[in-house]
């Protein structure tokens, strides 16, 4: 064990000393009775069963190693975090921590743990569990995917136990919106997993074959049974720590079962056949076919508006092409010219994309910051409208010429390239088809190459053997920090030019510095100004084209209350604890 990750429990005398040294903005209140979280607006009816589905089988039930969407959805229901982002208001709210205080320097966070909280096996939740959990997440041997989030400037967050229900987190430097980091970090039961960590077998713990009794969490539900390939059944966690307005313990539902549908069609069929109670993340065509398939009073369709996901057209601006990819390097000479990118953007008919591909359930975008990010989106930027004359002008100014209808570059080479897209994603291949059609209006011969998902990703992230790519990305959070890996030139979502040691261009350098700067600022306005500036730089440079942001579409059985699509993981199921079945006719 490295010293940095060892958190010896401190003697109580020293706790007092520590406390004195701090000057906190709020007084500490330490009530003695069990401290449940009451949701004052909620009055539902208990009981009932919910059938939901997952697009794939969860691959693990271990929240530390869950990377796929199905596993994350399930683990987020089985577990709970210290602080939680309210998906409706986008504000950080207390969860397992009943309150928190930020130190004046903005570098230390003091979290008061809710006391009297129990794990789903009845054992008490204490500060030791928090310490243990972060030790797991930060353990370099375990390689938890969350680890890098908790390491800032190469130094890990330090966690200190100040008492049985008081924990302090020290950040290496001021970090804006650090409270949002705690969202989704599941707290693990140290009494069960400590021995496994010591034995070095934690990485293989809590798989799908683990007996349900050994899977213990703080979430609203706990595992009842798992049948490989068939279903995963969760039952009500009797020790859950939330209550509704009438002090009735949550969750309302007795049981939730997940079946596995390989694709959206299978899901929609089962939903229509009455075997599922809710489906979410629908594509526009499934959504509209559901509208027609179902007798309308049984099903409620929910359009949550644009989410954090957006479709984009990626230019291959990688610097490593010349050596071994002459073909891609040749087409890259055009993409490296800003006017050319601008002209392509002007040639894209975003309205047609929204209309034809998303059946009007999407919005055109000006930048990767979608409307779901609320105040973070720069209102000065407007989605580029189709403007072929301007596009032609830009191209002509940049030395491009037309012969007949076809476009030729300065050196007399015909302008032709390929657009790759994921073949399994109908929307993206549709976008690619329409883009090729749009570009044809400029005299560009663009051909669409649909590729299988991993072959596609391999080209984008590893071989860089492509010209243009249509793909979708989703911001991790509404907060700019959630988009760090997209903007930073060293980030792994900086897909247009990967693995830059130094920012390749001045504007990328400026974005880098602005991103770093906003991270340390604590003032919202200043941060927002920096972020607006980043978006403006993006709009001027267009390293990729943000096309549209699809709406979050879902459907539920009409009597189910409490479900609403949300932009952050796990989407609609985030507040599953407050789902209930409406009684009555």
């Amino acid at each position: 064990m490295k010293a940095a990750f060892v958190f010896p429990s401190l003697p109580s005398a020293r706790v007092a000393l520590f406390l004195a040294a701090f000057a906190f903005s709020a007084a500490l209140a330490l009530p003695a009775c069990p401290q449940a979280l009451r949701i004052s607006s909620l009055r539902g009816a208990p009981g009932g069963h919910l059938s939901a589905s997952l697009r794939a089988e969860p691959r693990t039930l271990n929240p530390v190693f869950a990377t796929d969407s199905a596993s994350r959805t399930v683990t987020s229901i089985l577990n709970a975090d210290l602080l939680h982002i309210n998906r409706a208001t986008d504000a950080v709210e207390p969860a397992l921590a009943s309150s928190w205080q930020v130190g004046r320097d903005g570098q230390s966070y003091l979290l008061h743990l809710r006391h009297g909280v129990r794990f789903s096996d009845g054992s008490p939740f204490t500060a030791d569990d928090v310490l243990f959990s972060f030790r797991v997440y930060l353990d370099p041997k375990l390689n938890a995917p969350q680890r890098d989030l908790l390491i800032i400037d190469g130094r890990p967050i330090r966690v200190t136990r100040l008492g049985p229900d008081l924990v302090r987190f020290d950040l290496p430097r001021p970090y804006a919106a650090a409270a949002r980091l705690f969202d989704g970090i599941a707290i693990l039961p140290s009494h069960l997993l400590q021995p496994l960590l010591q034995a070095g077998t934690l990485a293989n713990a809590w798989t799908l074959v683990t007996p349900p009794a050994q899977l213990v969490g703080l979430g609203p539900f706990r595992l009842r049974s798992y049948r490989p390939g068939q279903s995963l059944v969760l039952e009500r966690n009797p020790y859950y720590w939330k209550q509704d307005a009438g002090s009735r313990p949550l969750p309302y539902l007795d049981e939730v079962d997940f079946s596995f549908a390989s694709n959206q069609d299978a899901e929609a069929i089962r939903f229509t056949a009455g075997q599922l109670d809710l489906i979410s993340r629908l594509t526009a065509d499934t959504y509209s076919s559901l509208q027609k398939l179902s007798s309308s009073n049984l099903i409620r369709e929910l359009d949550g508006g644009p989410g954090l996901e957006f479709d984009l057209l990626l230019f291959n601006l990688n610097a490593d092409l010349a050596a071994h990819l002459p073909q891609a390097a040749h087409t890259q000479t055009w993409f490296l010219q800003q006017p050319f990118r601008q002209a392509l953007s002007l040639a894209v008919d975003r309205a047609a994309l929204v209309h034809l591909v998303f059946q009007d359930h999407a919005v055109p975008l000006a930048s990767p910051v979608t409307p779901a990010s609320g105040q973070w989106a720069n209102p000065a930027l407007r989605p580029t409208a189709l403007d072929l004359p301007s596009a032609r002008r830009l191209l002509a100014d940049a030395g491009f010429r037309w012969r007949g209808a076809a476009l030729y570059d300065r050196d007399g080479n015909p302008v032709r390239f390929t657009i790759i897209a994921t073949s399994s994603n109908r929307a993206q291949s549709g976008i690619a088809t329409l883009l090729a059609h749009n570009f044809a209006a400029l005299g560009i011969d663009a051909s669409v190459v649909p590729l299988e998902f991993r072959s596609f990703l391999q080209r984008i992230t590893q071989s860089h053997d492509y010209d243009l790519a249509v793909m979708a990305l989703s911001a991790g959070d509404t907060d700019p920090n959630g988009n760090m890996s997209l903007w930073l030139s060293s980030g792994n979502l900086h897909l247009w030019n990967q693995g830059e040691a130094q920012p390749a261009t001045p504007w990328e350098a400026e974005i880098d510095s602005l991103m770093r700067q906003q991270m340390t600022l604590t003032d919202f306005r200043q941060r927002r100004a920096a972020y607006f500036r980043i978006q403006s730089i993006y709009a001027a440079q267009l390293p990729f084209l943000s096309l549209v942001s699809p709406n979050m579409l879902a459907a539920v059985r009409a009597p189910l209350a409490g479900a609403a699509p949300g932009p952050l993981d796990p989407g609609m199921l985030d507040n599953i604890a407050s789902f209930y079945w409406r009684k009555g006719p």
């Binding site: 049948r227 059944v233 992230t461 071989s463």
Partner: protein, 316 residues
């Protein structure tokens, strides 16, 4: 017989080795790997990615990897699944059972239906032939899709569960289970039926004119006895071969149906594993499939051997 069985097994072992080796090589040749998607995981540094990769799937020369795999496969251990963090054997076991159940039910259904239909004579037989041709001309996925669509339309009349439903309500109850199996099994059976019908009808037609069958007829034996004790054995040899082929494709035949009806079988798992490049799962699944193919061949030969006393006395 024993020695020829032994040689056959040895040969089969060779082809199993070839299958697994080829599978390894092709997996290596396909672009992308299991960790490709992790590269888009925001906030996952390249170093972490590398160490995750190194830990789960150490990159070593393919020959070495293959040798290691063979060694562990000998002990029945097919390695860990990259995606599921669990032993492949545990992952496959139940799904193989499910797939066998579905394919088995489908194939049995096809055989029963085929036997029933092929005993018809005269005008009904011509209609059956036409029906078989029609079924033959509809591609299997389309057939399954049509069936699903019809079931959905008729749902109000006769609710058949589509895909797996809540386990507490159904898997424990036999009748529910049968209802659940009905639709996908029917889709499988209808897909397989034309082949079976064609061979059954052909075989029965040929058997009608076999001397022993004519003799039985002329002796005035009751038609039922003629059918079951004379025609059927006479037509059996090619049918047994077909049956063996059917056994061989038990694991692979139901892929479309599984995916479409959401049946929790091997097909879906394998398809996803292929798309995810979950090496060990793919190799083990393919291995099982190849094993079944070989066993099916062997079984068919054994049945032929048991059925036809003349085969037992071949010249050495």
């Amino acid at each position: 017989m024993i020695s020829s069985l032994a040689t056959r097994l040895a040969h089969s072992l060779g082809s199993l080795l070839a299958v697994s080796l080829l599978c390894f090589a092709l997996l290596r040749a396909a672009p992308g790997d299991y960790f490709t998607t992790l590269r888009l995981e925001p906030g996952l540094s390249p170093q972490t990615l590398r160490s995750i990769q190194q830990q789960a799937d150490p990159r070593s020369p393919i020959v070495r990897r293959y040798a290691l795999w063979c060694a562990s496969a000998l002990h029945g251990d097919f390695g860990q699944s990259l995606a599921y963090h669990m032993p492949v054997r545990a992952l496959l076991a139940e799904r193989i059972a499910n797939t066998l159940l579905l394919s088995g039910a489908g194939l049995c259904g096809a055989w029963l239906l085929g036997l029933l239909l092929s005993t018809l004579r005269g005008r009904p037989a011509a209609l059956v032939r036409l029906f078989a041709s029609l079924l033959w001309s509809i591609p299997d996925p389309v057939l399954a899709f049509l069936l699903l669509w019809t079931a959905l339309r008729l749902h109000a009349l006769a609710p058949l569960p589509i895909g797996t439903t809540s386990p507490t309500a159904s898997w424990t109850q036999w009748s529910n289970f049968v209802r659940q199996l009905a639709l996908p099994a029917l889709a499988m059976a209808l897909g397989y039926l034309p082949l079976v019908l064609r061979h059954l009808q052909g075989g029965f037609d040929a058997a009608q004119h076999a001397p022993a069958v004519e003799a039985a007829h002329m002796h005035g034996l009751p038609p039922r006895i003629v059918l079951f004790r004379y025609i059927l054995p006479e037509a059996a040899n090619p049918l047994i071969s077909l049956f063996g082929l059917g056994i061989g494709s038990l694991l692979s035949a139901s892929l479309f149906v599984e995916v479409l009806f959401g049946w929790p079988g091997l097909g879906q798992l394998l398809l996803n594993a292929i798309l995810m490049r979950d090496t060990n799962v793919v190799v083990a699944g393919v291995f099982c499939s190849a094993l079944l193919l070989i066993l099916g061949n062997l079984l068919a030969d054994l049945l032929l051997w048991l059925h036809d006393p003349r085969l037992r006395e071949a010249a050495s």
